[in-house]
Amino acid sequence: MKSANQIQQSNVQSFLGKMPTIFKWVSFLSVLLLPVIAMAAGAETKAMSVEYRDVPGIGSRNLVWIVAQQHLLLAGFVLGVPIFAWVCELVGWKTKEARYDKLAKEFTKLLTSAYATTALFGGILLFLLIGLYPKLMAYLTDMFFPSFLVYCLLFLLETATLYMYWYGWDYMQGNKKAFHLFLGFLLNLFALGIMAVPNSWATFQASPVVVGDGDAWARAWMAMQNPTWMPVNIHRLIANVVLGGFIVGAYAGIRYLLAVSQEEREHYDWMGYVGNFIGVFGMLPLPFAGYWLMREVYQYNQQMGITLMGGFLAWLFILQAMLIGVLFLGANYYFWMGITYRIPGSENSYKKPIMAMLVVLLLCLGVWMTPHSLVASLAEAQKMGGTHHPLLGVFGVMSAKMTVSNLMILVTFMSFIMYWRAGKQETAGWAKAAKAIMGALLVVGGVAVIVLGVWGYFVPAIIRINYFSVAQVLIVLFIMVTFTPLTALLMKSAKTTTEMVWGKMPIRAGYSLVLNAVMVILLMSLMGYARSSSRVHWHIYGVMRDTSDYAFSPALGYAAAFMSLNTFVYCLLVAFIFWVATLGDKAKSQQTKVVDVPGGAPLMAGGAPSTAENIESGVLENHK
């Protein structure tokens, strides 16, 4: 085994050897981006004569749709992964468990390989927009030019930080770890800015504000502060974590399916679990953020809200409910499989609760998917006395949908708690009382959510929207923030009755992870179409009309086919990127002999297999 000094020396050499690559990348991106900005600045004069250009065959809008979708999905992954990679690294540093550090590094490896492709698609998108929509781009450039410069600066800082963070990983261990964590923090800070700045351009298109006098910076700042900017920032931030988590989960799922050794199976089983956990963790508050965004849309312009929820996009929300429902079912199913296969002996004790949860989830999904009005023939409509079904019609309204979405979140949260507690016996003297309190809270909370939902039918809409729905959300949040620390305290002193067994999950676990990722990608594509279509025939709502041949919003079926195509292309692209990223590992694994160390200790809701590789890498030694 190498000494710590030798390892450190070789790490320094490897880091220094890679430094020119960092600067090459940064310089390359600077050279790539700055002329683009300069072109954008000059676009105003060139755009005087041409308002639109078209692309024969595919059409300008479809081409922009594909490229923008690929860029946004890749960007979602690239901005979401650093958040949990950094948290994972922080956990590893605090608990001194090398496997978390290794996992964080693996996340970051996927990130670095996706980063350049994201930038590439961003560049292509910008060129296409300048070329195909010169009039719109001239307007946006005039309004936002200072923010373009800020974006460039943030991009350069993010790039430099990412390469230092990634290439300096092994070098910055031991007492340099704190600095590495600081780099991770900066990485996330810049990523937040990179997400927020372009969000302001897109949200300005949907909810523009009148910009008063002032210099260019003041005007850009005024335009950025439009009503939907902050809700979209929050919604996207959480959604990026969800996307990142489920994509990592799918990656682990596929690697699990392709694994040839037991060690690989154990590792990717654990990674799949962590990916699914991160996805679910982000998914729980996501509907609340979505609710806030819709409230802001309604407050900004009721017509836009009606177009979304009750106009030609109304059926879109039925599809959304279906996708979210499948996602909830997939995530829960994976948890339940974890209880059954990773914790032998637990399947019998949890059979009934799992069945009850499945029934509740399916009932809730049924309510959520009930349309407000049915597609009916004239005769059927006359029989029903309208397009509302006499019995099921009551489920087609927001009061019912808000109630079931909260209940589904509660059930999913309880699946997680159940998984966490499986295979352990509480030893604390106050365990019984704590469990009784939690049980009572769950029952009271669930009943209160239902009561508020039913009561919502009998009060004016404004009371329901402003008070009842908010109260439902707060009840669920309260249960989550009460249960989590209580369970953590209970588990701290709990006795493990059954050791967690990794790498024994059936093949369908891998498929369910892939399914979850596909659902999230489709959901993001669907809601992107909704946001874009809510502007109807305006590039900038109420300000700049779309006068091109593509000013109409396509029907849902056509759009869904396009979303499916985009999702398929994205999946292939990500698979290719990850395949390239792991080529090095395959070569390395042929050279390095890895010895299994059995019995990774179960941590919060699941332990992990440990490998000698962690110890050999010097990570543990450096922690001492």
Partner: protein, 212 residues
Amino acid sequence: MSEVALLQIIGLCVVGTGILILLFIKGMFLRVIGFVAMVLGTFSLIALGVPQMASLPPAIETFDLAEVKSPDDLAAIGQKIFFSKGQCALCHSIGPSESSRCPDLNGIGAKLAPEFIYESLTQPQAYIYLDFRHGTKPEEYPARMPHIDKDPIGLTKPEIFSVIAFLQKMSGEPISIKVEDIMESEDKKPEAMKVASISDSVSVPAERAVAP
């Protein structure tokens, strides 16, 4: 064959291919691809099964001031401008609103002289209304009124007069703006105004939404 039928056939083929891959191919990665294709095809088929509505843009209305015959015609044009090119409705409400970012314009045409309204539109900082809605210390409204006759909105004089006529009519006030005044203003031959209101988009069954 309609576009929907064609897409349905493609969707069925994709699902079928996915099933065939899962049935006959052993390679795990290809099987995952088949599974994903099956899921995506099914999603498309479901989406094609719901009512297909497309949103068509409304026709662009063109107004020629030379054709304006009465003050009511002028107010009608002003109303269109108010909700479109003028962007007034982005911040102002007509009637009380808790969330509007600028003063309520309900009845404003009766309260204020047209000259004052004209000054408010072209010299917005000359006299600033404060927000008294919240019962505490009056404060400035969140949004700052732009010069309506300058970029990016850039209304012409006849367009501003039309908006004032609309505000007067909306307030139940006789319209004091005369058609002759507009024709004599310094923009004697303004370009034809193209306006369309925000809420004018038309939803139609997809069959009528013909792609160019």
